[in-house]
């Protein structure tokens, strides 16, 4: 007897459940990151930015828009997905997911899809909000949308892995706080790595976030410190590695099934 290979209703149930959870806690999930990013725009874009000359041919305010967007996308995608899967593990409610006829693909699409959509909603609000403080253009809007989607998905996958790996709230915070945020700040969010002297410019190229920030920046300004195809390849590579890791986690049941 063969059965359906894909549980579409199960996928939708997870996706809808996760999105509703975000809307239920909209102050923390949506309002808070938008407020934080707006403060960055006020301080760096409008206040300090007005005293800084152009960077790579655009005003400093417009230059930092993709960087700040990246900062928010990375942190929100990671935290949404990691909390999404960690909380049921913590409360024990994951029993329902594990005993249901949903597999690796449905779970990923549900959790990661919802986390990515939340990030996209936040990204859209941030971009609209940014227009209040800085004057910016999007040189390649289709590429920009594609890049935002890719980054949201890739870091939602990364967050999902983090949520499975973590065995406590402290561990859940360690990677974003100790690694992700510093790498993002050092990855050219607020500056062009061409501003760095050697050897720091070369050292900066070891940071994978540099490629993501510059990829997104290219879609906004049309110029970046590294090539768009390298950025795109790095993002796709990261996404593929995350999918592979989660596939192995589901295959072995690591941290999910005893």
């Amino acid at each position: 007897m063969s059965g359906p290979l894909f549980n579409a209703r199960g996928t939708w149930a997870i996706f809808h459940h996760e999105l509703m959870r975000a809307f239920r806690t909209w102050i923390g999930s949506i309002f808070s990151p938008v407020l934080t990013t707006s403060l960055y725009f006020i301080v760096f874009g409008a206040a300090i930015g007005s005293r800084i000359s152009e960077v790579n041919g655009v005003s400093y305010g417009a230059f930092i828009v993709p960087g700040l967007l990246m900062l928010t996308l990375l942190s929100e995608s990671t935290s949404n997905a990691s909390f999404g899967i960690y909380m049921p593990r913590f409360t024990g409610a994951i029993y329902e997911l594990l005993s249901a006829p949903v597999g690796f693909v449905e779970t990923l699409l549900g959790f990661v899809g919802a986390a990515a959509v939340k990030s996209l909603i936040i990204a859209a609000i941030i971009l609209v909000t940014a227009t209040l403080f800085v004057d910016y253009q999007i040189a390649h809007p289709i590429f920009a949308l594609g890049f935002i989607l890719l980054i949201s998905a890739a870091f939602s996958l990364f967050g999902f892995i983090l949520g499975i790996w973590a065995d406590g709230f402290e561990r859940l915070q360690i990677v974003p706080v100790l690694f992700l945020t510093p790498l993002t700040f050092l990855g050219g969010t607020f500056y062009s790595i061409d501003m760095l002297g050697e050897p720091w410019r070369t050292v900066a190229l070891i940071n994978p976030i540099v490629y993501l920030v510059n990829g997104l920046r290219w879609t906004f300004t049309g110029s970046s410190d590294v090539g768009i195809w390298i950025s795109l390849s790095m993002t796709l590579g990261f996404l593929a590695v995350c999918v592979a890791v989660i596939a192995v986690v589901y295959k072995t049941g690591w941290r999910l099934r005893d």
């Binding site: 209703r9 199960g10 809808h16 239920r24 049921p88 024990g92 329902e96 006829p101 597999g103 049941g253």
Partner: protein, 311 residues
């Protein structure tokens, strides 16, 4: 012959660190029955349930549900299995109605407000449908978990300690609910610490200890085989020895000779009949007594006996 709905053979689970939670377990569950799995803490009850429901990865053995290999046809099998866990584990900030709705969708069924209303009404949760689960009492929270497990109309339902921590009235109410499920044809496997619960509801009983199934038997057969009657006659005058006319009865005396103790029967009523006959004979023999205490062994006594024999 009754159809087997769940067929477990040679099921073994060894956790990291070497703990053998299940040791070559064979168990067959019949369609439509209520099966009570009894065992002390750490006996392997929850591991056994987890192995069937996909929460635990067995180290060896096979599980067939509805004639399907659970490892290969897990999607089809799981869609027909429901689980009410021991812990009150769910998103407590969610509303009752949406939580049950989510469970139905997770198991691949289309939205059905009518069916969800029916489930909620049957568990007296309809009035609480818009309440956050955290605002409910412990007993009501447990009902929500049952509603979630019933939302996809499972053919096989696992209830892991379903009445743990609920008051007596609610326990009785839940027994009625479970009985109603049986009438609708749902096969139920329940684990419980309350032996009277198994005695009240189960068709068959299994006892598990240290990961091994010690016995599986019809409840009535088990009680007939292992059940005993005890009757203690407190005598008006000490009796130096048991009269030979009473030698047909399994009797012995207390040390101070003031009590005559009957221990016999087989759980089918034979003990009661013998005690009645013994009483008449004592009166006929002029052996006066001032009190009579009788006690028929329950499933609990049988369970305790079995556990003591294991030790």
């Amino acid at each position: 012959m009754t159809e087997t709905i769940l067929d477990i053979r040679g099921l073994t689970k060894t956790y990291k660190g070497g703990l053998k939670a299940l040791d070559n377990v064979d168990l067959q569950i019949r369609k439509g029955e209520i099966f009570a799995l009894l065992g002390p803490n750490g006996a392997g009850k929850t591991t056994l349930i987890g192995s069937v429901c996909g929460l635990v990865r067995p180290s060896g053995g096979t599980i067939n549900a509805f004639g399907l290999d659970l490892m290969k046809s897990w999607r089809q099998s799981r869609a027909r299995i429901g689980l009410v866990p021991q812990e009150l584990a769910t998103d407590m900030f969610e509303k009752v109605h949406s939580s049950v709705h989510y469970s139905r969708g997770l198991f691949g069924l289309p939205s059905s407000p009518e069916r969800i209303e029916e489930v909620l009404r049957s568990l007296s949760l309809w009035d609480k449908r818009d309440a956050q689960i955290r605002a409910l009492s412990g007993g009501m929270k447990r009902r929500v978990l049952i509603a979630k497990a019933l939302a996809h109309d499972p053919d096989l339902l696992f209830l892991d300690e379903p009445t743990a921590g609920v008051d007596v009235e609610l326990r009785r109410d839940m027994w009625r609910q479970i009985d109603g499920l049986r009438e609708r044809g749902t096969t139920i496997i329940l684990t419980t610490h309350y032996i009277d619960e198994a005695e009240e509801m189960a068709d068959r009983v299994g006892v598990i200890e240290k990961g091994r199934i010690l016995l599986v038997e019809d409840k009535s057969t088990l009680m007939a085989r292992m059940g005993r009657m005890e009757a203690v006659f407190t005598l008006a005058q000490p009796l130096q020895e048991i009269p030979s006319v009473l030698s047909a009865f399994p009797l012995h005396q207390s040390e101070d000779k003031t009590q005559l103790i009957y221990r016999g029967g087989d759980g089918t009523g034979q003990g009661k009949r013998e005690v009645a006959g013994l009483t008449k004979m004592l009166v006929g023999q002029g052996i006066d007594f001032t009190a009579l205490d009788s006690h028929e062994s329950s499933l609990e006594d049988i369970f305790v006996d079995l556990m003591e024999k294991q030790e």
